[in-house]
Amino acid sequence: MQNNGWDEFEIGAMLRSFDGKAKDIATTLQEDRNYSSNNSFTASVADWRIEKPVFHKDYCIDCQFCWVYCPDISIISRDKKMIGIDMDHCKGCGICVEVCPTNPKSLLMFSEQQDEEEAIAGWPEKEKGEK
């Protein structure tokens, strides 16, 4: 956002979500919406995350639990297929990992600095439960 002077913005403690008219927002994918520069969709608001979720697609059953439970709409899902995580908005709360029902989990928390390929290479084996 530009650092405008006092006479260069709309009055009121008010921000617009979209540039121009918002049309059919519910049926328009986020990346196709005309979000304004004031909208947090275009901003990185996750720089204070210290743990991140890593997604392992081989185990995912596309149940959408993570998508439903994510409090920051940071799970990217298209046509009911889990695609990945929006790391500009994910705060690393770990709820997606908690609700993931697969064995082993398809989402696990790692430190922010952890290399993703290494994390997937060292993914845990299926746990043998007692019946």
Binding site: W6, D7, F9, G12, A13, M14, S17, A22
Partner: protein, 407 residues
């Protein structure tokens, strides 16, 4: 939902509260969120009755506090409604946090403030403590001296506040009991005239405009806060007065009743003058005439628009006068009076700077009598004759005990 119009006589006998309630009915308020408090209760009670009887199309929201009342008004105004409420004293004090929210969010809410003292000690009567408490809140403040003013200034308030070049909330002040509960003849507007003067509410950035979603009440830190406050102050300083003047002009065309940003009475050749607010203006006018019969050229200046402060208009009104008494009806609690300071600031860089003295009076509804004002004008004339202020700069009027004065 339809509503009925009300047939009014040309002159009705109304007190200030009922006059304000009638104005709220005539401009067809959409939402009143209120928590009634003496002496302003009959304003919102009146609106509620008009609503129940089918004379208004709107909503009355009963809330749990004045903080919630103004919060409800803020929500309704941000949503896009014409919104008003009323309060006094402690209720006003509880609203203060939300007053700053309303003005910062640039929401044209109208608040009828029936001026009342602030506790402790608890007191229900009229003084200007609550009005002064609101003076830095970013609202426009209009001051009524009688029920007629309370009625008329409500229409002015809506007209100015809702203007898209202004978009600031506005208080209409009247003195507790002295105006709010004193019935006088009030010249009325018909419902059509009144509504026509204010016009349909024109929404701006309203939340109910689903095609243009907005977030109201955003947070800004050191990177943006200053610019927002500067913008608001700029608009108060430069945009409000011309709109108030235009509204006064149009109102005079419609009704014949003339209001001024600063009201001057007998000021053409005045040597000595009283500057004050509220009902005291009317008392001072009467005494000024009597002083003239005694050979003292007395005048009165009444503040009609308290915020934004009429700096230039005050300079012009007091240009040729020799001695001025500024009356403050609120305890300054360790300073010269607020109005005294404003007037001093306005006059300091002027050439014919008059002799200035301040008086604190009428706290908690204590009467300002004609005798007080006769003595006061006599003191001012003595100052003129001596060519200097012969009294302390701050004196208390009408308080029991040894003479109280400072500075």
């Amino acid at each position: 939902m339809a509503f009925d119009k009300m047939e009014l006589r040309d002159i009705e006998v109304w007190d200030g509260n009922f006059a304000a309630a009638q104005a709220l009915r005539q401009v067809q308020i959409d939402v009143v969120a209120a928590y009634p408090i003496t002496p302003s209760t009959p304003i919102v009670e009146g609106y509620a009755k008009f609503l129940a009887d089918g004379y208004v199309e709107g909503e009355f929201v009963m809330v749990e506090s004045e903080h919630a009342a103004m919060s409800g008004c803020i929500g309704a105004s941000a949503a896009g409604g014409r919104v008003a409420t009323a309060t006094s004293s402690q209720g006003f004090a509880l609203m203060v946090e939300t007053l700053y929210q309303a003005s910062g969010m640039r929401l044209p809410i109208i608040l009828n403030v029936v001026n009342r003292a602030l506790a402790a000690p608890l007191n229900v009567n009229g003084d200007h403590s609550d009005m002064y408490l609101g003076r830095d809140s970013g609202w426009i403040q209009l001051d009524a001296y009688c029920p007629q003013d309370a009625y008329d200034l409500n229409f002015i308030a809506f007209r100015v506040a809702e203007d898209h070049d202004v978009r600031l909330p506005c208080m209409v002040h009247q003195d507790g009991f002295m105006t709010s509960h004193t019935a006088q003849g009030v010249k009325t507007l018909t419902d059509d005239q009144a509504y026509g003067f204010v016009g349909d509410f024109k929404p701006m950035n309203d939340m109910l405009d689903f095609d243009h979603p907005v977030t109201h009440g955003v947070q800004t830190e050191e990177d943006w806060h200053f610019e927002h406050k500067a913008r608001q102050h700029n608009d108060l300083m430069t945009k409000v007065m011309p709109k108030v003047q235009a509204a006064f002009d149009d109102f005079e065309k419609l009704t014949g009743r003339k209001y001024n940003i600063v009201e001057s009475y007998d000021m053409d050749d005045a040597d000595v003058t009283v500057v004050c607010l509220g009902t005291s203006v009317e008392t001072a006018r009467e005494v000024a005439k009597e002083m003239r019969a005694k050979g003292i050229k007395a005048g009165v200046v009444g503040i009609r628009v308290f915020r934004p402060f009429p700096f230039e208009e005050i300079k012009a009104a007091l240009k040729n006068v020799k001695a001025i008494a500024v009356l403050d009806r609120s305890s300054p609690n360790g300073a010269p009076g607020a109005l005294f300071n404003e007037i001093a600031g306005a006059l300091y860089n002027t050439e014919g700077r008059a002799l200035l003295s301040g008086y604190v009076y009428g706290l908690g509804g204590r009467d300002l009598t004609k005798k007080h004002l006769v003595d006061l004008y006599t003191e001012l004339q003595a100052n003129v004759d001596a060519g200097r202020v012969t009294t302390p700069l701050q004196q208390f009027i009408g308080v029991r005990g040894p003479k109280l004065s400072f500075l």
